[in-house]
């Protein structure tokens, strides 16, 4: 009896959702549970389809309640419109719509017909229509007034760019865009990327100011550093520590040598995690000497979205001017040599890049002439077809053969070109196809 009363109590609780009380007969004992604890049933298995169907049913029911509430509100709303306050609002609205119309004409825009009808209509009846039509009039006035602006080229191009910029996030795992989309997206994203003034300050290129004068200002931390250095050099305790360390490193005592072997090994193991690799040293050199705002993440992203597609396009379509912008002397000569030979034989390249993905930072290193370079690898899927320029028939390759190729590209940043709006100073000094295999 008690359990029955409790059961009924739970059923009539104040929750807005209906409680689907379920009971499972387990060994003859009835257990009542709320629908949210379905987990107890079936020995721990929730059927995902059943859970989804129940959730949909519940939301439809909630939606029906919402609809009925909305209907109630609208019925009440029509009663409000007859009051004096509503009449005043209507007059104010028609006055402001007059002002809007004047502004629209001043802008040189075309005023929509619907707007004119409402503005010059004599006093509208005291029904719920007053609010609705005024709102609609203002709405159409706004869209009518801005129509001329929306139809200009600048706005259209900006709108298109915004859409294509939004699509960039989906490029992270691969994809290939054509030249026009790339250029638009790059211009737009450059503006959008510098979101704060601080970021703009960090990323703009800094040039020497000739009028700055020769005076040198001491850095504000220099005093502390100097005093710390003095302390290290003059204090006897610190000197004693340094001396002990030196003698430990250079001692010839066999016991100390054995201990030293152990500590060196331990330091080696820790050093694997904490020492700086060659790549790190090269990246640090780029950041310190060439480009203070350098970030590897942004560079790889630029590579993926703009630089490598540009260069690949230029290489495959024999576009020597673009290659000249992006390549160093040696690589330009090598790459153009290949297709100048082709054009001399009357062969035109009809190669298509179908896909480009896995643009990765591979490593960075410092070359012999103290130039830091970044090595980037990527994979493409290409269709290599060469046609006779005059007849258009295929000279080499086949339209059905897709090749999956691995490439290596090496980049460096030239400080003199840091102003270049297209390259930002980056130059490619080598491009090589590592492997190519047919795929489908």
């Amino acid at each position: 009896m008690m359990t029955k009363a409790l059961f009924r109590l739970r059923c009539t609780s104040a929750l807005s959702q209906p409680i689907a009380a379920r009971s499972a007969a387990i060994g003859g004992v009835r257990i009542a549970s709320m629908h949210t604890s379905k987990i107890q049933l079936n020995g721990g298995h929730i059927s995902p389809l059943k859970a989804f169907a129940d959730s949909v049913r519940r939301q439809v029911k909630e939606n029906q309640e919402l609809q009925s509430n909305m209907k109630l509100l609208e019925d009440h709303g029509s009663k409000i419109s007859d009051s004096a306050a509503m009449k005043k609002t209507r007059e104010a609205a028609s006055a402001s719509s007059e002002a809007i119309r004047k502004t629209a004409q001043a802008v040189g825009g075309v005023v929509g017909d619907g707007f004119k009808a409402v503005a010059e209509n004599p006093v509208t009846k005291a029904t719920g229509e007053a609010v609705k039509t005024t709102a609609k009039a203002v709405g159409t006035a706004a869209s009518a007034a801005t129509a001329p602006i929306r139809n200009t080229e600048a706005y259209k191009s900006v709108e298109k760019n915004v859409k294509s910029y939004v699509d960039e996030a989906s490029l992270q795992y691969g994809g290939y865009r054509d030249k026009a989309t790339r250029m638009q997206s790059r211009v737009m994203s450059r503006k959008v990327n510098a979101r704060t003034f601080a970021e703009y300050q960090r990323t703009r290129a800094i040039k020497a100011d000739e009028n700055a004068g020769e005076g040198v200002v001491l850095h504000k931390d220099a005093k502390w550093k100097e005093s710390w250095d003095n302390f290290k050099a003059n204090n006897s305790v610190m000197q004693g520590i340094f001396q002990a360390r030196k003698s430990y490193q250079e001692s010839e005592n066999p016991v100390i040598e054995a201990t030293r072997a152990v500590t060196d090994k331990v330091r080696g193991v820790f050093g694997f995690f904490f020492s700086e690799t060659e790549s790190a040293a090269a990246l640090r050199q780029i950041r310190d000497t060439i480009d203070p705002g350098f970030s590897l993440d942004m560079f790889v992203r630029e590579c993926r979205e703009f630089i490598i597609p540009e260069i690949l396009d230029a290489y495959l379509h024999s576009d020597a001017e673009t290659l000249k912008v992006w390549c160093s002397e040696a690589s330009y000569n090598v790459l153009t040599a290949i297709f100048t030979a082709q054009t001399q034989q009357g062969v035109m390249s009809d190669c298509k890049i179908l896909d480009m993905r896995h643009v990765d930072f591979h490593s960075a290193r410092v070359l012999e002439n103290d130039v830091p370079v970044i090595v980037v690898t990527f994979q493409t899927q290409e269709n290599n077809v060469f046609r006779n320029k005059k007849t258009g028939e295929i000279v080499q390759g086949s339209e059905d053969v897709i090749e999956a190729c691995h490439y290596v590209a090496i980049f460096t940043k030239v400080p003199e070109n840091a102003d270049d709006p297209v390259t930002n100073g980056w130059k490619m000094i080598d491009l090589a196809k590592q492997s190519s295999r047919t795929t489908w």
């Binding site: 298995h45 995902p48 992270q172 795992y173 694997f272 995690f273 020492s275 700086e276 690799t277 790549s279 790190a280 040293a281 990246l283 640090r284 950041r287 590897l296 993440d297 790889v300 930072f361 490593s363 960075a364 999956a404 295999r437 047919t438 795929t439 489908w440």
Partner: protein
Amino acid sequence: MRGADVSRDPCPWVILNDAGGAFAMGAIGGGTWHFIKGARNSPYGERFRGGVNAMRARGPIIGGNFAVWGSMFSTFECVLKGIRQKEDPWNSIGSGAITGGLLAARGGWRAASVSAVFGGVLLALIEGVGIAMSRAFAQQPPIVAPPPPSSQ
């Protein structure tokens, strides 16, 4: 059923479990690996950011690869169980072979068959180790005293 693993869900739902578990393994393992690699390859002062960037770029990819492998393997295992109506290690081995073959299918017949052989052998090793371990740790049946002679 001897050899049945009752802690796993029945066949359709186990695919979801395996896909999720494989993704978690791949994402955590790959994330750690790439975090260390990214941190090592970054200059001092940017190590943490470099590690996080590398982990963010590469970790989910490895998780996704693992999840693809795990879900395909589990699907084909369920398919084989359904066809053969038996639960034994051959399901796993066959499923490993099919998965390996399918994942390398873009390279042509030869690459696919080599990969299928590798997948089958790998699963055979795993199953073999599993069987050996279960035999080693199998509990002895409890010693039961013979029933007392019934008094006539």
